[in-house]
Each structure stands twice: as C-alpha cells, then as structure tokens.
C-alpha cells in the first residue's frame, strides 16, 4: 500500500519536514507519555500518513478512526462540564 521506492516530490519533502518539525516541537514541549493524546502530534502523524498513502479507501478509514479518537479525547475533557449543565456534578 505504501510505495517506499516511489520518489517523493519537493513538495512532499517539505510536508514531511514540517510534520516532523511539529512532532519534534511537541516532543520538546510535553512529556513523552502524553504524546499519544496531544492534538498537534495526532494531526502531524495523520499528515504524514496522507503524504504517503494514496489509497482512498484506507485514507477514508484512517480519517474516520482518527476523527472518532479525537472526539473521544475531546469528550473526555468537555463532557463533564456539559453534563453539569443538566444537573450533573460541577
């Protein structure tokens, strides 16, 4: 699915470097154990995936799974506040 032998264009190289730079920034900024739930890191990894994978079906699946994962991550923080609006603990 991923053609590693395929030569990459200059634009792709720039994209890869940017994604790597973003990950390095996050590695520098936050503890490694928290990296999996860091928004920027998830986006950077997803970006890298888009650069190398062109199969539309696989892209679609990964996009949906990533979106669902980010929704869970978001919900973990926000939902308690949301529930408090309807009588849950504040």
């Amino acid at each position: 699915m991923i053609d590693w032998k395929r030569s990459i264009s200059r634009r792709q190289a720039a994209e890869v470097l940017t994604a790597i730079a973003l990950i390095l920034w996050r590695v520098w900024e936050i503890p490694l154990v928290n990296l999996w739930r860091d928004w920027i890191t998830v986006l950077a990894v997803y970006w890298g995936f888009l650069i190398f994978v062109e199969n539309p079906r696989l892209r679609g699946r990964v996009t949906l799974v990533s979106a669902a994962g980010l929704m869970l991550l978001y919900g973990w923080g926000q939902f308690p506040h949301l529930l408090s609006q309807f009588g849950g603990p504040r």
């Binding site: 860091d38 928004w39 920027i40 996009t63 979106a67 929704m71 978001y74 923080g77 506040h81 609006q85």
Partner: protein, 569 residues
C-alpha cells in the same frame, strides 16, 4: 408599549426597504455576495441612523418612528416595494435545513428568554446604552468602567433594538443579525473556494454552531460580530469583490472592536495571491464608494470622539506608565512575540481541548471552537488543502490572521474569543470532505448535536439561575438577582473602581436613575449623596479604601443594605 411597537414597525420597515433599494444600486453581477451585501447595508443604515439620532438628540421612539414613516412613504412613492424579490430557495439537504431551522429557532427563543447576563456586557458595553436611551441622546456618561470608552459600533445596533420599546427584551436581536451575517459570509466563502451550494450551506450552518460564537450572539458581546465581519472580508477577498465593497465590512469592524483589524494581514496576503483574478464589479461603483466612505465614517466616529474627549483615538489603550487601575485592565499595545508564543502554546496545548471549563460567552479557559473543529475539522483541513490550491491559499490566510491576532493581544484566559473566525476553515473543510467521504456524515451529525446541546445555556452561571431568570415575566426579566445587584426602585449612586454590573441597576425598562460618583473622597461620600438627593449607594472598591468606608458605617453615616449596597442614614 403599543406606540413604541408602531414606531418600531415603521422604522424597521423603512430601513429594510431602504437597504433593498441601496442593494439594487450596488449588487454585483455575481449574485452570490448579494445576501451578505444586504445585511451589511442594513447594519450600516441602522448604525448611521442611531449615530445621527444620538448626536442630534433624537434618539427617541417618536422622532425615529416619524423619520421611518417619511422614509417609508418616499420609498413607496418611488415604487421601491415593487422591486422586492424573495431570495431564491437555497439548495440545501434535508438534514442541514432541519439543523439550520433548529439553530434559528433556538436563537430567537434565546433572544426572548435571555436578559443581558454577561459580566463584561453589563459592566461596560451596555451601561452607555441605558444612558443614551434614558436621555434620548449620546451622553458623556457611559458608566464607571475603565473600558467604557471603547468603540461602540455594536452598541449602535443594540440600541436600535431597545430604543422603540424602551426595554431590553429584544436587545440580543443585534447579535442575531450578526449571526446571520456570519452564516452568509461562510456560505459565500465556501462557495468561493469551489464548494457547491449544499456543502456550502452545511459549512455555514456548522460554523454558526461554534460554541463561543453562538453563545456570544445572544450575550451582547462584540467578538462574534467582529468574527462575522472578518469572515465577510475574507469572503469578499476570495470572491474578488470590488475593493470599494470591502470598505463596508472594514468600516463596520473598525467601529466595533480594533481586534478585527488585527486579523487583516492574512486577507491582504490572500488578495495579493489572487490579484490576477478579475474583480466582480458592483452595479454602481459610485454608490458603492459612497457607502464605503459612510461605513468608514460610522466606524471612525469613535476614534475621532476619543481623540476629542481623551486626547487619544485609541483610548483607553495606552503605553508608558500605567496607574494601578490601568494595569488591572492592561491592554497590549502593539505586537509582542512573547504574547504570540505563550498564546499559541496555550491554544494548541490546552485551550483547544475545551477541558478546563464549560462553554461560556467569553470562552474563559477554553478555545470555544467545539468538538468538530478539534476532531474531524482539523483532519479535514489537512485532507482537503493538499489537493486544492485555492483552499490552501485560504488556509494560509486563516493561519496568518490567527497568528497576527495572537501577536497583538495579551495572553490571558479569554484571548481565544478574538479567534472566532478561525473555526470557519474547519467547517468548510468538513463540509467538503463530507461530499467525498459519506460516512463522515455520522461524525458531523454527532458533533453538531453535541455542540447544539452544549450551547443551550452559557455554562458560566449555574443552570438553575439562568432558568429562574428565564421564568420571570418578560417585563421584569433581568439577571440582577443572580449577579447580586438586585436594585431597589429608588435611584442609586455608584461608587466603583472595580468592574461592576451597573447596567442591571437601570432595570430592563431603563426606568431607574443611576448616578456615578467620581473624584469623590470617601470622607465626602455622604455630603455628595446629600447634594445629589440620593440615599442608596452601590460600593465596589479595593480593600484599602474600603477600610476607610467601613469607618463611616461604624460611625452610623451609612448602613449596609445588602452585599455592596449601603444606605445613607
């Protein structure tokens, strides 16, 4: 009240018809921007009428209503009503239409059931409106807050909704009009980057659900109107509207809040990138130029006023030595790389998760962008910009705008409210992705439902307090009870250097007299009250001078009524 309703109907009808008449003269060959143009013209006319009426002392129902009647008669004689055409039925999916209708209905219900409750609004945005409506003219008195002299372009539109009824029950309609502008601007922007009508409508609908944006629309705050106008500028740049048409949103946004101007560099860059594409000319460049100049005049008025009154067009923003009071409400002057660094880090490391607090009107401790831009929206932006040059250019403009705003505002718990236009990019990308990846619709529906539910009530107040306020009869509906400034029916003197919700003291029908005491020593307070014939004092000062005041209470000069209220004995 009945007479007020009559004048209101006449004046509103006249300005709506006049807006349509003006639109006929500046509409573009491309029909897409005309909806946005109509709302812009209406906002400009409303602002202009209130501004002139305020300056000339005619800010009362009858003069404004009579003006409306004359204007309406003239327009009817000119047969302008015969030119009215209902807008074409939008091409929109059933689910999107249902969601948009629900949002619209909810906004109207919130307008009716909410009374102004936000701390900033009732402390420094709205007291000036209460003074204007009571006096029937603009006043030098605008309340005791340090931030009261800021530009009041949004307050002009709010005044339009309260002056006829002499009551604030409909004051939030001003924000609803800007919500409509934001909706139309995002739809135009989406169509400008190549989306077909259905996904463009979806993008606009999702944008209006942005938590802080949708809550601000009914909270008398001006960051959402600024975002709507910035998005209008963006949409005009993308659709290559004639440069003179850009003066309309530019003038209006300058008159509402300077932060709107901080977002401009991104759109200037985009205009340069698109410079080879031809402009869409308005029907009459002369009319468009006149309107643009009028918008700059309406927006620029506040800067001229502040220069005349305070010696600085951007007062109370100032650099150099600051008093303690000024430091408390310090407003950053000029660019700061430190602010950019700290705010950006705070935004992407913390605020974007919206996990510290619930959604509130100021977005305290959160980005207030919601679950969709955080999850699917961010992924969709990356997915979509890789294959579309124009969307990539627009994304670059959004990025630059976001960074320039962060460069210009200080890092605090509320700075994300200045970035309310940014989530529009995510909404456009989501709508675009949904067109090619069908299962995305499930995530969009779930995210939209959560954002809708999460923004039923602002979460900065306990829901019970909000519900209790909503249950009050509309004539007496006020947030005073839970903001703790429940006034009595007698006139009140305000002695406050700390932020105080003084708007609530006027009452929802502006029937109560509020007087602000300035440059009075604590020891002279009793004499000052006697001189003005007042008995009730609202006191909100720092602890040190409060010790001095408490000595007066012990001496029997004043007696405490409730928390911050004292009675002259």
């Amino acid at each position: 009240m009945i007479e007020g309703l009559l004048w209101m109907a006449l004046a509103h009808g006249a300005v709506l018809l006049a807006s349509h008449a003006v639109l006929r003269r500046i509409r573009t060959e491309n029909p897409l921007p005309n909806g946005v143009l109509f709302v812009l013209i209406h906002l400009l006319l409303v602002s202009g009428v209130v501004l002139v009426a305020g300056l000339t002392g005619f800010l009362r129902p009858r003069p404004l209503g009579l003006f409306g009647a004359v204007l309406l008669a003239a327009l009817l004689l000119l047969r302008e009503h015969r030119e009215l055409r209902l807008p074409a039925r939008p091409d929109v999916g059933r689910a999107t239409a249902a969601l948009a209708a629900l949002i619209g209905l909810r906004l109207l219900l919130q307008v009716w059931f909410f009374a102004p409750f936000d701390g900033d609004a009732v402390s420094y945005h709205l007291p000036k409106i209460a003074e204007w409506v009571q006096r029937g003219a603009f006043t030098r008195e605008m309340g005791s807050d340090y931030c009261a002299p800021f530009p009041a372009g949004f307050e002009l539109v709010e005044t339009w909704w309260v002056v006829f009824l002499h009551h604030d029950v409909l004051i939030e309609m001003a924000g609803v009009e800007f919500a409509l502008l934001g909706f139309l601007a995002v739809r135009l922007l989406a169509e400008g980057v190549g989306l077909s009508p259905r996904p463009a409508f979806l993008a606009a609908t999702l944008y209006v659900l942005t938590p802080t944006f949708t809550l601000q629309n009914v909270a008398c705050l001006n960051d959402a109107p600024v975002a709507a106008l910035v998005l209008t500028i963006a949409a005009f740049v993308v659709t290559r509207a004639h440069p003179v048409l850009l003066l309309l949103p530019l003038g209006l946004v300058a008159g509402i809040k300077g932060t709107g101007l901080y977002a401009l560099p991104g759109w200037v860059v985009l205009a340069l990138l698109l410079r080879k594409e031809p402009f869409a000319r308005p029907a009459s460049v002369r009319w468009a130029t006149a309107l643009g100049v009028a918008a700059l005049a309406v927006g620029g008025y506040w800067y001229v006023r502040n220069f005349v009154w305070y010696g600085s067009p951007v007062y109370p923003v100032k650099s150099g030595e600051l008093s303690f009071h000024q430091q408390v409400y310090y407003i950053q002057v000029g660019p700061s790389l430190a602010s950019l660094r700290y705010s950006l880090d705070s935004l992407v490391s913390d605020l974007i998760y919206d996990r510290q607090k619930g959604f509130s009107t100021l977005g305290t401790g959160v980005s207030g962008w919601g679950i969709l831009p955080f999850s699917l929206g961010a992924l969709a932006v990356l997915h979509e910009i890789r294959g579309d040059r124009k969307l990539r250019q627009v994304a670059l403009a959004f990025l630059i705008s976001t960074l320039t705003v962060l460069l210009m505002v200080k890092t605090d718990a509320w700075f994300a409210r200045f970035l309310l236009s940014t989530p529009a990019l995510a909404c456009i990308a989501v709508a675009r992705l949904a067109g090619t990846l069908r299962p995305v619709a499930v995530i969009v529906a779930l995210g939209a439902a959560l954002q809708f539910v999460g923004t039923m009530l602002p979460q900065q107040w306990p829901p019970g307090d909000m519900v209790a306020m909503m249950r009050k009869p509309w004539r007496t509906r006020s947030a005073a009870a839970f903001v703790d400034v429940e006034p009595t029916n007698e006139p009140v003197a305000v002695y406050a250097v700390r932020r105080s919700p003084t708007y609530l003291m006027y009452g929802p029908d502006y029937s109560r007299r509020v007087e602000y005491l300035r440059d009075v020593k604590i020891a002279d307070l009793a004499d000052e009250l006697d001189r003005r014939g007042l008995r009730l004092l609202y006191l909100n000062i720092y602890q040190r001078p409060k010790y001095d005041f408490e000595a007066l209470v012990r001496r029997g000069t004043f007696g405490q009524v409730q928390r911050n209220y004292y009675r002259r004995l």
